[in-house]
Symmetry: C2
Subunit: 272 residues, 2 copies
């Protein structure tokens, strides 16, 4: 089942700009991370984000914050009223967080990010304790400032989720799907691990792209993404260059399961 | 002349939290980068930022953008009306950019960032050509999308500037100072260069901190920042740990001038 997130972004652009080679063989459809899963994965992996709040005249204000995630996908903030964003949130509790995929090289716009928008809540009692514990566990430096009198623990109740996976990959998720989705155990940055596994044996990844990805004429291949359901490959063929998808036999359940899933792909190639 | 930016952030916190050792010898005051210079330096060094815009109901919306800078400090954006921020800016032209110091390790909140806020302008004619040229020169990937019909070149006319240098270092700049300020030729990330210069001779940097920074009892030192006017050192002494400032003989005029300025500090130590 192909996800809506994979549909190309309909730019007002020359149609050949995004032409990509299509599989030449019958390739099974491979499940993709939903926008909700992508958003939860990025949010869980990160610790710092851009925060948008409203100034005195309702103008937008961008700043940097640290955050932690609650199990239901609500971000926790710890903000000071000495900072503009802290004063802004006391006046108008609406906020938006933009979390970008960390540890990536190259063009940041080619990588993932998610915007979470909603209303921040000043939590109290047990909810405050849970949120504070999550925050301090994620942000070690908070041991210094989280207890200062000018800092408050806020929880962002997310009502709008917009995920962008890079050029041409983007989708929204509704709030319920976002809350229910699980972060991918492989995180957002596992492609380098896969390229590392094949660094001494490029031909083996080429065989996977050729036989399992449907591009038997490929001349080069690189892994650009990994999720629990499979690999994203960038393939070069005489017909052009573009993405190819290869599914794992089973969804990967933990970070430790990646090498087993990759070994199964190689075994499938050898058996073909 | 000590800049207001160096004053401690007046947290509602135990007073001893930010206690730092004071110089034991008579150390000359060293000029610091103004908030306007810090802001221009960060903005010139970066290429990607968080953008805050306003949604349909005036709610804040955070997203990621690439940007370039015009010589007067106005950021140039290139946004699509297919993206939420592009639609937002067509409805309400107010925007805010948060630019963070790139290429740093450790805690992002301990490093620099700047918020630039104002009103975006859809430029035309020669102004559009200048802005587009600046954008394409800074953002190579824009060669693909900047010409698409759904993308517009916008210039952010900055009216509010807020710089944060890390914990306890922050200040605002007025719009005129921001426009007039020069980006520091050393950029925001030169501290690693200085630590590298002393990696084989830690004692030499200790002597600089001891003799020129006013902490003759220091037990360890590390460079945490460099600007055209001098070094920021983190010194450990039996009296506590904190920042120390050492000024260059002359402001450094270009990136190539850093090693000469450092050599002069070492020569001054030897002559003492």
């Amino acid at each position: 089942m192909l996800d809506a997130a994979a549909r190309p972004y309909e730019h007002d652009a020359p149609s050949e700009t995004f032409a990509a080679p299509q599989p030449l063989t019958d390739v099974p459809a491979v499940r993709e991370r939903s926008a909700a899963e992508e958003a939860r994965t990025l949010a869980s992996a990160g610790s710092h984000a851009a925060l948008a709040t409203l100034g005195e005249e309702g103008e937008p204000w961008a700043s940097m914050v640290a955050y932690a995630m609650l199990p239901d996908g609500s971000p926790v903030l710890c903000v000071s009223t000495l900072a503009a964003h802290g004063r802004n949130l006391r006046r108008d509790r609406r906020a938006s967080l933009m979390i970008a995929q960390g540890e990536v090289s190259g063009d940041p716009l080619a990588n993932g990010r998610v915007t979470l928008a909603g209303v921040t809540e000043l939590v109290e009692g047990a909810a405050e304790e849970e949120a504070r514990a999550a925050y301090v566990a994620k942000i070690p430096a908070a041991n210094v400032y989280a207890g200062f009198g000018d800092f408050s623990i806020l929880v962002l109740r997310v009502d709008t989720v917009r995920w962008v996976g890079g050029y041409g990959r983007m989708d929204s998720a509704d709030a319920d799907s976002f809350r229910a989705a699980e972060p991918d155990p492989l995180g957002p940055n596992a492609a380098d691990l896969v390229n590392g596994l094949f660094s001494d044996d490029a031909a083996a990844l080429e065989e996977i792209g050729a036989q399992l990805g449907g591009h038997p004429d490929l001349t080069a291949v690189r892994c650009t993404g990994v999720d629990r359901y499979g690999l994203w490959l960038d393939v070069e063929t005489p017909r052009g260059r573009g993405p190819a998808r290869v599914g794992f036999a089973e969804p990967v359940a933990s970070a430790d399961g990646l090498s087993t899933a990759i070994a199964e792909l190689s075994a499938r190639v050898r058996a073909a």
